[in-house]
Amino acid sequence: MEPVILRTEGVTRIFRSGAGEVRALNNVSISVPQRSLTVLRGPSGSGKTTLLNILGGLDLPTSGRAFFQDMEITALSEGQRDRLRGKEMGFVFQSVALMPDMTALENVEYGLRIAGMFSSNNRKMAEKSLKEIGLGKRMRHAAYELSGGEQQRVAIVRGYAHNPKILFADEPTAELDTAMGIQVLNIFKRLISEQGLTIVMTTHDPNILELADRVYTLSDGGLVDGND
């Protein structure tokens, strides 16, 4: 059993808007083992995206705590969380999240730059990763010229190109066809086994559920099977 790399303790998140209060998360505690594929599932509105954001330091809970390795990320300043996130974490968003004017290659390089990596190897690494994911011929095209599936793949490469410890992915295979989806999962599995990456993702896809190491089901802001 691998050590826990990421966990939350009693995290609650309440959003206030013009229409009132929304309790997106209600006292959720989970733990993510290292080198695992952990899946958060649940219908839209169940709070899984919110939980993902909190785990990634993009959002702070109204109450409760979250930990990365032994660091309490909920206690860090925004700048510290930014730096942590940039270096140790990778993100793949549900919506297309590339810089539209940059090429696929440049998008990946951009991600590397944000992570603080300026080596001359960047380019080669990016090219290799893009080839692996089947974008060898398309990597010099601008992002808006790529299809939805291609863009998603670029986003995924951008997510792990800087060798983070954790990769967060929000519905990464949603826009891909089944074949491509399988391919992506293979890459994920390889990243976990070869590079020791931990992957936390949300999905609807039943195939992925089968391959997951750990599955948390959320519904209306709470875990279905109760906290850990």
Binding site: A19, P43, S44, G148, A179, H204
Partner: protein, 301 residues
């Protein structure tokens, strides 16, 4: 005549760099008064189909009749009228359903202004009553919760008494209670007004409540789930909070198109590691058709 008669529908998007075949010969029939759901991932073509049904896009080839209207031959002017009067659309994102600067009531009235209807206010009131928001009719978008917005959207879509009601992920961004509420509205519309409703959704719970679910994959109808047990029975038998897996209530059928083609479920392909494209052998054994991945071993003497 069916409400939707769709045969071998093809839609190709061409840009200067790429060509995307979104629909590859899709077949679908929806009867009048039917309430059904379509599921499928993004990129499966379901959004494309929905847009075509909604009059927002034009099919490239094939045959599509909605309420007796030929969608391929429809002129742009007629399409405008079609969007106005034949079809009602409920978008997933509420910013697309409601004009933010108008009240709920005014929003419902708005399509009627376009079609020149006379008793706008009265009908708006009726519709809002139907979705249970009559007392909120003077509120604007930012004063309504997500669920309330969605319900107003339904009222708006019904403003001009459309023959067909289309809904794109209607329960996408609401909690389960509201989702149930919305579904009940749809069900009432279907039962009481015989409204034909097509819902596109990810939501397993929602799709498990309708009688018929069509699975769209790679631009084609790949399989259909037909309800085995009637929904009301199911309700009677089970508690609401529990999640029901589809395979207990529905039977999955493979859709056979006019050319006799069918799509094999992905799970089967995966479990046998069958790669596509490829070939299979088919053997008729009595009442069954058997598909083989390789030549049967010759029976040795």
């Amino acid at each position: 005549m069916a409400m939707i008669e769709c045969e071998n529908l093809v839609k190709i998007y061409k840009t200067s760099e790429i060509e995307v075949i979104a629909l590859q010969g899709l077949d679908l029939t929806v009867e009048k008064g039917e309430m059904m759901a379509m599921i499928g991932k993004s990129g499966s073509g379901k959004s494309t189909l929905l847009n075509i049904l909604g009059g927002l896009d034009v099919p490239t080839a094939g045959r599509l009749f909605v309420d007796g209207r030929d969608m391929l031959k429809m002129k742009p002017k007629d399409r405008v009228i079609y969007k106005r009067e034949t079809v009602g659309f409920v978008w997933q994102n509420n910013a697309r359903n409601l004009l933010p600067y108008l009240t709920a009531e005014e929003n419902v009235i708005q399509p009627m202004v376009l079609s020149g209807r006379k008793d706008k206010r009265r009908r708006a009131g009726e519709l809002l009553e139907m979705v249970g928001l009559y007392n909120r009719r003077k509120n604007r978008l930012d004063q309504l919760s997500g669920g309330e917005q969605q319900r107003v959207a339904i009222a708006i879509a019904l403003a001009n008494e459309p023959a067909l009601l289309l809904a794109d992920e209607p329960t996408g961004s609401v909690d389960s209670k509201t989702a149930d509420l919305i579904f009940d509205i749809f069900r009432d519309l279907n039962r009481q007004l015989n409204q034909t409703i097509v819902i596109v959704t990810h939501d397993n719970r929602l799709s498990s409540k309708v009688d018929r679910v069509v699975n769209i994959r790679d631009g084609r109808t790949s399989s259909e789930f037909i309800r085995r047990i009637s929904y009301s029975d199911e309700l009677a038998a089970l508690q609401q909070q529990q999640q029901i897996l589809r395979d207990k209530t529905h039977t999955e059928w493979l859709v056979l198109d006019r050319a006799g083609r069918l799509q094999l479920p992905q799970e089967y392909l995966d479990s046998l590691s069958i790669s596509v494209p490829g070939r299979m052998l088919s053997v008729l054994e009595g009442e069954k058709i058997v598909l083989l991945t390789e030549e049967p071993a010759k029976i040795s003497e």
